[in-house]
Subunit: 336 residues, 2 copies
């Protein structure tokens, strides 16, 4: 996680649209039991590679199929030839980079002395949210809330490795006492918000992670309106983030701007701030690179020859057919 | 090839937008020695699967890297969970389905008695163009032309397995004598057309295969204007096919409409017709399915466990960390 946080913060700091071209995600709506999506998230590093994450969101996955709500596959293609260079499961990378993004946003926008974290929604992403925050903040207490008591119960076990004081809490308690809140829910389209706008701390920082579909939002408008709302990728947040609820003039700087110019936004660390985290392709590029490097160091992974490129580049059947020597000379003789 | 032709013709005949949702391709422009692209081509079969081809076009690939101009990777995802089901090299599938599409278009739009085929551009795609046509027409003569004499010479060898009378020809000869012409070139953006509008046969059918980039076209406008121009996928052909050159009212029916209602267009078999083949996602879905089925029958392919989904769906670290039994009971005790 430290590697991912460091790599992502560095990517934000050095981000330059002349070198890196992220696209907002696009995809299909899945007509499953609950609305799902299957989307592609491409980003190009000019002259180097294109990383594409294909990601699906199906909130019934854990209970129905025993697999994660968010399933993803990351692939990397060579810009020179177009060849597939790497293929990686995207489930863990997505969880890692989403956690890292919240930690970085919190570093620049939350009270540096934040001690109490509130977790609204305790599924898979809540594990890495807390892990990432724990690397940058001295967390004394974690207040956990989930509408599903079974999920809440297993959360305490799933984050046990962090050795933190994690306790179930009511939403009211969580909202009143948390310095940093993460909303990480599978709330249905049109069924938000997932928190009230009650007694938040004046300096509260909220990582709004769950909104990733048109119509799916987690925060009350009034809270957004009095906070500095920083999207990860504005173009995408306008379609599927908390920014859906706001007029352009109500939206703050992007997280990249904040990381590149922290002095401009330092005052906000004592005021209400929101990181509108929709999750974007740049983050996937960064985590894919970091994990590929680590995998190489550890000798993990498998080299696969997917293509048949050893033969004649102009003969699609090169590997399939025996060469027709005699016939070939017969025909080519006509050229002379 | 017979399997692919049959499967693709059936897919055209039974195509229904309520069940199948192809998207036009989108992608990045590659700033290589010559303009290239890297694009994604998604299609969803509702309730079943999503097929995505990631394809790149780099005309300098063969000479510079010894790999095909068109490199592709086809992947198939489960609509229910989002899991990657299949991954396949797309180089051969792309060549197969592009050839099959031209053969099907020729079956419905060319003179059924066509005997002479003209091939303008003799790279990799020209191999499968001729192979596919040879399955549906009694070809007596093939007139081949390429601006690169070396490519022309090896073409005679590469299509030797077909046992056809293939001979180099001048463009003038090719245009005057061919019943069916395929334009399959890597002509540069803005550098077309690749044929003149001279003495074509009145019933000529042209499969315009090469245009697949904004600004890249192969046919003269005058020829398009007096022909029935049938795009494979209108939405896409308007952006990067020969249809770029035409006003909406100058564009004929899509190939799916022609296959579904052949009687409406039968008269055109004796007149000038053009298949504007940009290559679209439906074709990739069809060929991926056909080849997957064949691979299963032949016991080819490898089962790979890319994801770590065996454990707790809500714990991204399930496979990485030892379980914390003691800690877990300590924490969960607080819930009771």
């Amino acid at each position: 996680m430290d590697t991912v946080i460091e790599a992502l913060e560095s990517a934000f700091r050095h981000f330059d649209t002349a070198r890196t071209e992220p696209r907002k995600r696009d995809g299909f709506t899945l007509r499953n039991e609950r609305t799902g999506v299957l989307e592609w998230m491409p980003v190009m590093q000019h002259g180097e590679s294109v990383t594409i994450k294909v990601v699906s969101y199906n909130p019934t996955n854990p209970h129905r199929y025993g697999v994660p709500t968010i399933i993803a596959t990351n692939s990397v293609y060579d810009c020179a030839t177009g060849r597939l260079l790497e293929l990686m499961d995207g489930v863990l990378p997505t969880a890692l980079r989403t956690g890292a993004a919240s930690a970085i946003a919190s570093k620049y926008l939350a009270d540096p002395d934040s001690r109490v974290v509130g977790m609204v929604g305790c599924g898979a992403q809540a594990v890495t949210q807390l892990h990432a925050l724990s690397r940058l903040f001295r967390i004394e207490r974690v207040l956990a809330y989930d509408v599903d008591l079974g999920v809440l119960r297993t959360y305490l076990r799933r984050v046990g490795f962090l050795g933190l004081d994690v306790r179930p809490a009511s939403l009211e308690e969580l909202e009143a006492e948390s310095d940093i809140i993460c909303t990480v829910t599978s709330v249905g389209v049109g069924e938000g918000p997932v928190v009230s706008d009650g007694r938040f701390k004046p300096s509260v920082h909220i990582n709004a992670v769950g909104s990733d579909l048109p119509g799916k939002t987690e925060l009350p408008l009034s809270l957004l309106e009095r906070s500095l709302v920083c999207p990860d990728f504005l173009e995408q947040a306008l379609v599927e983030g908390e920014c859906q609820q706001l007029r352009p003039e109500q939206i703050g700087p992007g997280i990249i701007e904040v990381v590149q110019h922290p002095e401009r936004y330092a005052d906000w660390r004592k005021r209400s701030t929101v990181f509108d985290s929709t999750g974007f392709a740049l983050e996937d590029q960064v985590v894919t690179r970091a994990l590929t490097r680590r995998a190489r160091e550890l000798g993990l992974g498998t080299e696969v020859e997917l293509e048949s490129l050893a033969g004649d580049a102009m003969n699609p059947y090169d590997e399939l057919l025996p060469t027709h020597g005699a016939q070939a000379s017969l025909r080519t003789a006509r050229l002379d």
